[in-house]
Amino acid sequence: MKKMSWNCHRILFLFSRLILGCVFIYACFDKILHPAEFSKAVYNYQILPDVFINLTAIVLPWLELVLGVIFIIGIWMPGAVVMSNLLLTMFTGALLFNLARGLDISCGCFSTSAMESSTNIWTVLQHGAFLALAVYLLYIIYFSRNCDALRQNT
């Protein structure tokens, strides 16, 4: 039973980190190519002070790329998992916050195009699903007593 559980976790762990890796890499491309448009998307959220908008638009996409590559290679997992949990919690919180106050803006999550559909409950659920994967990785790395081998490999 323990062995089955361990194998199951190993597959789920691999699946989760590869999915998150692909999501982060896919999410960063358009933002890296079009930083000015991405800065407008960041501005439209009306959450950050003006002085941090451009800095966020410059750094965040590359941070996503680095995280994506790390997830796919499978190194530095404790740090990458904590960072991805923080980022995905912030993204989901920002989406929920703007949805709650009725701000009709495009997500800017995977595309900087103004034609991207507005933030809606599906966008939030999608981010919730990514966050669930990140939380699972966090659980395995920090809290699961049966997964020492997985932890050692990270």
Binding site: I53, G79, Y142
Partner: protein
């Protein structure tokens, strides 16, 4: 156990530091090398955001807009949806929802002279509809088009005349 617990947190901290440093480093270096680089601290004031393609500033202040309104020297055009317009708008304003602009602009603008001052507005500090509509109107030949930022809200807050129908 404590030692293992401590070591994973130490590992986490240095890994986060390295990931942040790599991401920030590549981001800042690539930004400085690209021809369309962003300023690290941008100007996000309404004045810098709302300009014509020529670079001319399009914003009109509430006091100027009010003066033109009382002198009946400007046409106000509401860029919000029909539903929002029906719920309330600046008195005498015309409705030209940005999403229907191609279909409706001929009908809405047929009795407006190209030399007349037009003031577009929508609602919210970051609402782009009025700016997009202003650029469109300039593009089709109107010469004096201005944008009243966050128009519906600031107009109501100043207790200026409104209509609801």
């Amino acid at each position: 156990m404590n030692k293992i617990g401590n070591s994973i947190w130490v590992k986490t901290l240095w890994q986060i530091s390295v990931i942040l440093a790599i991401g920030a480093g590549i981001g800042l270096i690539s930004n400085s090398l690209r021809p369309d680089s962003l300023q690290l601290i941008g100007d996000w004031s309404a004045e810098s955001r709302i300009t014509a393609t020529t670079g001319e500033h399009l914003i009109i202040s509430l006091s100027e807009a009010e003066k033109l309104f009382t002198e009946d020297a400007a046409i106000f055009i509401d860029a919000r949806s029909n539903e929002d317009f029906r719920n309330g708008h600046i008195a005498g304003a015309k409705s030209l929802p940005w999403q229907d602009v191609d279909r409706l602009f001929m009908k809405v603008t047929e009795d407006i002279s190209p030399d007349m001052t037009i003031i577009t507005y929508c609602d919210g500090k970051t609402c782009k509809l009025s700016h997009d509509l202003a650029l469109f109107l300039l593009d089709i030949g109107f010469k004096h088009v201005r944008v009243l930022v966050n128009g519906w809200t600031v107009w109501q807050e100043s207790d200026l005349p409104v209509e609801r129908r």
